[in-house]
Point group: C2
Chain length 355, copies 2
């Protein structure tokens, strides 16, 4: 059975559960904002589906319920925030707020975050900058899943980065991409469905190309564009991990895999105040026009629509606010069990049961 | 016949030719530095091979021989430089010097450059930052060669970007990549040699995948990783073109294709002062160790070496400083003719003729 929930109820459900675990209401609200944004955007792997593991790590003391998150270094356009092993969404929002404040003061800013945890969708934070008329850049390293180009050992994460650019009437342009060609979850789906993976998705234990999803899962993912994705993954790892004093390379802790140690994730954020280059209204109007020039360019044969980066997720958001968010059977079972374990009744939150 | 030249003589040859065209010695020297660096790094498409078109554009008045390059906007960590349609290498070096100065003052800086021309290899400028113990980022838009994802009209350039990270004993890490999967020149080589191109290199005029290099050349290149490279190309175009007040999308002028208009290229540069995060010596030692951890990780079967981004180009530089730079027959003919046209004797510069 599938169920339907609306975004307000999902938000309340997440806040209620996290408060039961002992998280402050305002911190719980921040986590809920980020998870609901992911579900609305259609990135369900990073929505409420992550709540059970957050709760488990909070209860096990692997995430700090009451962190003291603060700047440990600050100099003009630069700050380094210590997340005190708090929830990634809480620490990352504080870091981006600092980044926005410094960008408005100095024209550009860079904020590093160390000692943090999984933060959900990276785009949430770059979009915070865009909502403040800034260009936002955010990157983080993740637990190792990719071999270096020419290697076979998982030394690098899929190390995503995101850039958001504010528009006026149009949806903001939001690029949010991993540096692997595909996520591991996609290989897992192909394995379950018994399908062959295209060449380029990953390599086997010997480091050789394979189309067998099972062999890829035993081996490693491949970076997008070979040396290009490999190089980007290294840059993200150095900026977000090494430079901030966090873990990097194959020392990065896994959200699901490492149930006995802190993740100690690092992030890097940069914001640029566009108004130093041109009037912000002029810029945002130009971006609207830019979007329309790209959108109205000639389509490939058989295609009738060109999308800008982030446009599909924006459209999903409008649609899901209107129609609600569905939980397929497994997810519903997990979230229902989680609610029950805190004596919360899932029926108080869901709005419909689908056949 | 191939000839051999050493880097010092190539540098002198470029300076001598540009001075004959009426370029200041110090500006000519800057162009020579960048072109020689490209030839030494083995990026021969961006070395002295570009000199004839620069000379042609200078003589036609499409590049300004005596530009007044200056900051037209400046506020704390931000500056916008007007290149006054001067040589790209001259304007970009001035822009990166400003970027370095501002990063040392504010911790991070962003410098836009407008009204500029082809600047050679992007890595030259990010490496300037790394030599100053900064992390350097540089991006530029280029003339249209790629369709948007789902399109078929060349709306975007291959819009490259580069990031350089300083190391201590090891070579600095230097990523320098276009956002297309392959450069157009590679497709041209495949066409000349009658070879099939792999799927993913480009599309035909209808926007459909093709393995025929001729059809790709009539169509457009494809971005690396589909929507990923497409998104990156858009971000580079907006930051370097639109935000700096330069041309963007399919208005960007072509170095070779547009002999009747200025290129009006834009660039964006960011530098980060690492010392605000950690002691620079500690950082550079950590990068050395990082490099060695990646290099010594398990190799793919049949491979005995893992390279870091920029390492091959660094090794080429050492080798070519030692052994000289070769000009194959066509290039030799072109450069020899160019020298002759200014009453310079190519024999005064070359150090050997190869069989």
């Amino acid at each position: 059975m599938e169920v339907l929930i609306n975004d307000k109820n999902e938000e309340k459900l997440i806040v209620d559960i996290l408060q039961k675990v002992g998280v402050d209401k305002s911190d719980a609200q921040k986590v809920a904002d980020v998870l609901v944004a992911a579900d609305l955007r259609g990135i369900k792997s990073h929505g409420i589906a992550r709540l059970p593991i957050y709760v488990e790590r909070l209860q096990a003391g692997l995430i700090n319920k009451n962190p003291d998150i603060k700047a440990v270094k600050e100099n003009k356009g630069v700050a380094l925030i210590d997340g005190d092993n708090g929830l990634g969404q809480v620490a990352s929002s504080i870091a981006m707020e600092k980044c926005i404040e410094l960008a408005k003061e100095y024209g550009i800013s860079v904020v590093g975050l160390k000692n943090s945890n999984h933060f959900g969708i990276a785009a949430y934070y770059s979009m915070m900058a865009a909502e403040n008329d800034l260009i936002g850049f955010v990157a983080t390293n993740t637990s190792p899943l990719m071999a270096p180009f020419g290697g076979r050992e998982a030394m690098l994460g899929t190390n995503p980065f995101t850039v958001a650019v504010p528009a006026n009437d149009e949806a903001d342009i939001v690029l949010d991409m991993a540096t692997s060609l595909v996520p591991r979850g996609k290989v897992e789906v192909f394995e379950r469905e018994g399908k062959e993976a295209p060449i380029g998705w990953g390599i086997n234990k010997e480091g050789l190309n394979t189309t067998d999803p099972k062999e890829i899962l035993e081996g490693t993912l491949l970076p997008v564009g070979g040396p290009k994705g490999y190089g980007m993954a290294i840059i993200v790892d150095i900026l977000s991990g090494l430079m901030t004093g966090s873990t990097y390379l194959n020392d990065v802790g896994s959200l699901f895999g490492d149930r006995d140690k802190n993740q100690n994730l690092g992030m890097i954020m940069v914001a640029i105040d566009i108004s130093n280059f041109m009037e912000i209204d002029e810029f945002k109007n130009d971006i609207d026009e830019y979007i329309n020039r790209v959108r109205s360019s000639e389509k490939a044969s058989g295609n009738n629509r060109i999308f800008l980066p982030g446009e599909i997720e924006y459209n999903n958001t409008l649609k899901n606010i209107e129609n609600g968010i569905t939980y397929e059977e497994n997810l519903y079972g997990e979230i229902s069990d989680l609610a029950n374990s805190f004596e919360l009744n899932i029926n108080d939150y869901i709005i419909d049961r689908l056949p």
